[in-house]
């Protein structure tokens, strides 16, 4: 089992997200509702499942963590109050913390903007990259 190896990482993620992964009944509603589905390798329900099973390495290595829009639709609709978005955020955070430095500064943003970029993406990007 890969549990032991990653126990600390799992615990860290669970604590920082406040998510109880055991509540999940595997209905897949989070994934069904996810607007970024096509962009993601691992989908919201898989995050929940994989964190529970301790497969943190796969998740942190996956670009999926950067694809989540943090739109919170999965949290809103989850019948079990599992809140996958918080979990994805926590995984993301664990990766960012490992990197250490500040990756996005507010003053860098104007240069990156283009007309098609939705406001929400800016906000999420800032949340993702500026930790």
């Amino acid at each position: 089992m890969s549990h032991n190896k990653n126990a600390a990482a799992v615990e860290q993620i669970l604590r920082s997200s406040g998510v109880d992964v055991r509540k999940c009944m595997r209905c897949g509603k989070c994934t069904a509702t996810c607007p970024a589905f096509d962009e993601m390798e691992y989908h919201p329900h898989q995050f929940v499942y994989m964190v529970e099973k301790g497969q943190i390495d796969k998740l942190t290595a996956s670009p999926s963590i950067w694809r989540c829009l943090s739109c919170f639709a999965c949290m809103e609709r989850c019948p079990r109050q599992v809140e996958p978005a918080k979990l994805i955020e926590a995984v993301r955070l664990s990766v960012i913390r490992e990197k250490g430095a500040n990756h996005l500064k507010p003053e860098d943003i104007p240069a990156m903007l283009d007309e098609d970029l939705p406001q929400q993406a800016i906000a999420s990007a800032f949340r993702k990259y500026s930790k």
């Binding site: 009944m25 897949g28 509702t33 019948p79």
Partner: protein, 665 residues
């Protein structure tokens, strides 16, 4: 001084594993008055009871303390055993060292210490126990069934079959309930009406059964064997005795635009109506909110047309008081309204319907005469998506739904899917499920037939959202097994919504003083051993009001409830609870404080002559408790400032003795 015997039960290892039973027996043997103290493997067993009986005989015990499981479990057992040995049963007290000690404490020393303290408290109480003798109260040989669905109907028929009178109170104009709205039944695909309506006719024709339709329970007083119930017969503005159910008025009423609730609002009815053709009683009802005559005083067409002269616009609600020995709650359910699930589009898209609505759309007597047409444009749907578990199995914190599994949805969805594929083979049917739950005779076979024989697409996953675009329902869903996100263009989406107890159940439970769980399902007296009884004596449970169930289960539970009622009504007298209040006339002030808090009206006052000081007499007003009416709550004992009012079996002194024993430092 009492001679007390103490018996510590091991309950196998249930108690003995965490409580040092030998040490408890030893410790309690030193308590004042204890002349015998022992432990035994299973006190409730035949040999355990024999042990107790022998000790009573041998040691001339006057009181018994059993340290065992909850008194709610075996108090009666031990009391009966003591009684067989000639000891008054109320000289037996239980110290609950299982539920309150061994099952919840892990540390043996701590658990043993607490067991000793609880044993001591019981001993302290027994010292003050007095032999009590139960009185008797008569049984009114009539039952009331609240709710006229299949549960209520079956219960009433069975009780009547045994020769007892039964009243059914149904708030709708007709009995029949939800089953009357259903098209076919799983897993046999019988026509629901074909099996229900004969039973409704049986009810109507049974002279032991009286139906109060369009009526509600107004108040319940009394207690097991002697309930007094007020029933409000709502004014239906039609004389039930005169109306022949010819239906002329319902055809001619000029007010045609009233949504037809029986058909889930898919069509309309008149202001005077009979819900459906096989209604029982087959009597018209005027819907005062929509009747032109009632609203404006102008019209009166139905009265003119009615040859029987049954129309009576001046009819008033009527309160009927009836007496019963037993009451059965059969208040049923309603499907949850899925309007909190915005993403599924129920509130915004006409073609998103609930399963019960689909029943009407498929029913030969329904708005479309049995042809499946979608509500928006009355066309045949070719792609149909079923969504399971809408509002069921939600986290308890989730305000949108219920935490329980509604139990029947998997099966009726399989039924729907199968019926649609059978009748319209060109239709694609998708069922999105979390789990398919089919325990039951021929249930899984039924589901497999839907998949294997009828080619219904069962997809493990959930629908994330439903959006209407140009008359098409865009369904976005996950397929967890393939890992895909699906996008289906559907014509009709059917939501298998959770069942929830009827809204009236809460107020009825309050009137019946029957307890309910947090979901408003009635609580049974024991989850396993007394599933059709409420903890309140004389109140029984039938059908979905106790928890989700399908028709066969409902009917069997309805019959079980009937059997319990019959068992009760067959008795001529009931033994009363001897733990009743009594007033010490020497201390009574006659102030009426107790009377004001007595919920049963069990306290009366009279002027009595007493000896005053120095050979004088004086007349004082004093309270008397009617022991057959008193239920032993004890409200009066606290209202009484002088302490004249006390409760047998739970006297002030007894409770204080327990307090003392527990707090002893």
């Amino acid at each position: 001084m009492q001679r007390i015997g103490v018996f510590i039960c091991h309950c196998g290892t249930n108690i003995a594993a965490t409580v040092d039973v030998k040490a408890v027996a030893e410790a309690l043997s030193h308590e004042p008055g204890v002349v015998f103290s022992t432990d035994y493997q299973y006190m409730c067993s035949e040999s355990g009871q024999t042990l107790m009986r022998e000790a009573i005989r041998e040691h001339k015990l006057t009181g018994v303390v059993v340290c065992s499981c909850s008194p709610r479990m075996h108090e009666a057992t031990f009391r009966k055993a003591a009684e067989k040995e000639g000891l008054n049963p109320y000289m037996v007290e239980i110290a609950n060292i299982r539920e309150q000690v061994s099952w919840i404490h892990k540390d043996m020393a701590e658990a043993t210490e607490k067991a000793v303290i609880l044993g001591r408290a019981a001993i302290a109480k027994v010292h003050l126990n007095k032999p009590l003798k139960a009185g008797e109260s008569p049984v009114t040989k009539r039952a009331l069934v609240i709710g006229g669905g299949i549960a209520g109907i079956q219960t009433a028929l069975d009780i009547a079959e045994a020769g007892f009178e039964v009243d059914i109170v149904e708030k709708q104009p007709t009995i029949g309930g939800k089953m009357a709205q259903i098209d076919k039944t799983f897993p046999t695909l019988d026509c629901a009406a074909c099996i229900l309506t004969p039973k409704m006719v049986d009810v109507a024709q049974n002279e032991k059964i009286k139906i109060f339709s369009y009526s509600e329970v107004e108040s319940v007083k009394g207690f097991v064997g002697n309930f007094k119930v007020e029933i409000r017969k709502k004014a239906r503005y039609v004389d039930e005795d005169k109306c022949t159910g010819c239906g002329l008025c319902t055809e001619k009423c000029p007010q045609k635009k009233v949504p037809n609730e029986f058909n889930m609002g898919f069509d309309t009815r008149r202001a005077v109506y009979i819900p459906f053709a096989q209604a029982v009683p087959k009597v018209a009802t005027i819907d005062a909110n929509n009747c032109t005559m009632m609203k404006t005083g102008k019209c009166g067409l139905c009265a003119k047309l009615c040859t029987a002269g049954a129309i009576d616009y001046k009819q008033q609600d009527q309160i009927v008081e009836r007496e019963y020995g037993a009451i059965v709650a059969a208040t049923g359910f309603n499907p949850l309204k899925p309007d909190k699930f915005n993403e599924l589009g129920y509130s915004t898209c006409q073609d998103v319907v609930t399963s019960l609505e689909l029943e009407r759309l498929m029913n030969a007597a329904g708005p479309t005469a049995g042809t499946l047409l979608r509500p928006s444009d009355k066309t045949h749907p070719h792609t149909i998506v079923f969504v399971q578990c809408v509002g069921s199995r939600c986290d308890v914190e989730n305000e949108r739904g219920k935490s329980y599994c509604s139990k029947i949805c998997c099966m009726y969805t399989a039924k729907h899917a199968m019926l649609i594929r059978e009748k319209y083979p060109d239709t694609d049917v998708y069922v999105f499920y979390i789990d398919v739950r089919t325990p039951g005779k021929n249930f899984d076979e039924f589901y497999r037939r839907a998949v294997e024989q009828y080619g219904v697409h069962y997809i493990k996953g959930q629908v994330g959202k439903v959006v209407e675009e140009n008359g098409t329902l865009k369904v976005q869903a996950s397929d967890l097994l393939s890992g895909e996100q699906l996008h289906i263009d559907a014509d009709l989406v059917v939501l298998a919504t959770a069942v929830e107890p009827d809204k009236s159940a809460r107020s009825i439970a309050t009137m019946l003083t029957a307890s309910m769980d947090t979901n408003d399902f009635f609580t049974e007296a024991h989850a396993k051993l007394r599933p059709v009884e409420s903890p309140t004596a004389g109140i029984f449970l039938s059908g979905v009001c106790q928890g989700p169930k399908d028709i066969p289960e409902t009917v069997s539970q309805a019959s079980a409830a009937a059997a319990k009622v019959i068992g009760l009504l067959a008795k001529d007298k009931l033994t009363c609870n001897p733990c009743v209040a009594n007033s010490n006339e020497m201390l009574c002030n006659g102030c009426s404080s107790c009377e004001k808090v007595c919920p049963y009206g069990a306290i009366t006052y009279s002027d009595k002559e007493f000896r005053g000081p120095n050979r004088t007499t004086l007349i004082r007003r004093v309270a008397t408790v009617n022991e057959a009416v008193c239920q032993g709550c004890g409200a009066c004992t606290v209202a009484c400032p002088s302490g004249a009012m006390d409760l047998k079996g739970f006297s002030n002194r007894q409770i204080m003795a327990e307090v003392d024993a527990i707090c002893k430092m």
